[in-house]
Symmetry: C2
Subunit: 262 residues, 2 copies
Amino acid sequence: MTKATRQFGKLFLVPAPLDFGCDEDIDLQQVMPMGTLSAAASITHWICENAKTTRAYLKRIDACTPLKASIQSQIITELPRQVHKKGDHLGGFDAKPMLTSVLEGEDMGLVSEAGMPAVADPGSSVVRAAHELGIQVVPLVGPVSLLLALACSGLNGQNFAFVGYLPQEPQDRARRIKELEQHALKSGQTQLFIETPYRNAALWSSLVQSLQPGSRLAFSCGLTLTSAVNQSCTAQQWRDLPSGKMPEGLNNQTPAVFAIGA
Amino acid sequence: MTKATRQFGKLFLVPAPLDFGCDEDIDLQQVMPMGTLSAAASITHWICENAKTTRAYLKRIDACTPLKASIQSQIITELPRQVHKKGDHLGGFDAKPMLTSVLEGEDMGLVSEAGMPAVADPGSSVVRAAHELGIQVVPLVGPVSLLLALACSGLNGQNFAFVGYLPQEPQDRARRIKELEQHALKSGQTQLFIETPYRNAALWSSLVQSLQPGSRLAFSCGLTLTSAVNQSCTAQQWRDLPSGKMPEGLNNQTPAVFAIGA
């Protein structure tokens, strides 16, 4: 907890739009405040998951508000693969060396592939390192799929948890769903989770089969896209859909967020 | 789960800036996407916690992008007091009658005093009612203090919970802090909570005294304000501050979010 000196740069947490890997390109200004875009346009040093997609994002920012430095001249450093795979919240990775430029006075941006860095995505090791070095951390406003999904779920937003991914193995997944449902019903805490899009159908079918009739199940698919769909009702109402039918708008290509609650 | 017909309006979830009750007025365009501001400017029917502050917010929106209808002519309905006091996630309040205009084809906006409606604030009863009536719910992007606080905490953002307010009574509060800490250490789930600003100092002192030396404690105060401060370190490091000293930037006037984790 060294006190930040005026000579240090800042670490900006730069949100990204939610159209990564989707067919549709969102108009950046529809989902990103000008404050965020101009802060991002003035940054020349980046930490990211993937340099190529970060360059593509910078190109889109440049079309809204000119970048301070050309994309070619930006210094873009990728988080190591171990961080992508295992996450970086367990303390095994020391990100301090990645922040040398900030100690030398440069502002740096931490960006993820979609949404807010360090939320449902790697990056917390970099933020922790910044705090340890006494670097000021500035989170910028942008889309966060989890919170948009929670707001439109109609479920309890005054007590909620995000638990990441559920197990892939069917029996383990069903067991975990029942566990989360029990916790939601007992404590009133809404339980949010995500899945790799190509497993959305498998997860959905397991949810509809495993939940008690009166429990509420909501999904949001393609948040902020023009094709965005969200729905919320009881497991019994979902079961009443024609057998095996996925709800309209939920598919195996588009990122979705799921929520269960009382 | 009636299917929405083309004649229905939509329910927009309209975020508000985080400067409510603060000395500083944030420039709306710094924290709100143009997409959100123009959607809000075209809405003429509102559900809110407080009609007066909603009108003040509409005036600020009008300065960025002209409102479709004058503020005087907007139909603004307040959520009943019982919903403010007890929350509305328990199902005791039927918000369907509030959505009559939407069934008649008008778009409506649900707005809270700060941040995202129905997240750490009332509104979920209205969203639930919309789903029951087959009304399309459209969450708009804007600032959400909880997620900004989580991102800049450096704590685990891949598994986290927001648990609302802690008890006010000192012994109950200390017990609850230890309970949340145990859960965070055991499960790796970051625990976020808030407090009424004038109790920030009391909560802080209880946190610093109750937590184990190695547990991490973070706070964010005045998120998105120019005076915003966030810090994150271990309870022991906080204890090493001169006795009784609050960390710089944390005070009893400005809304804060707290987080504990491993």
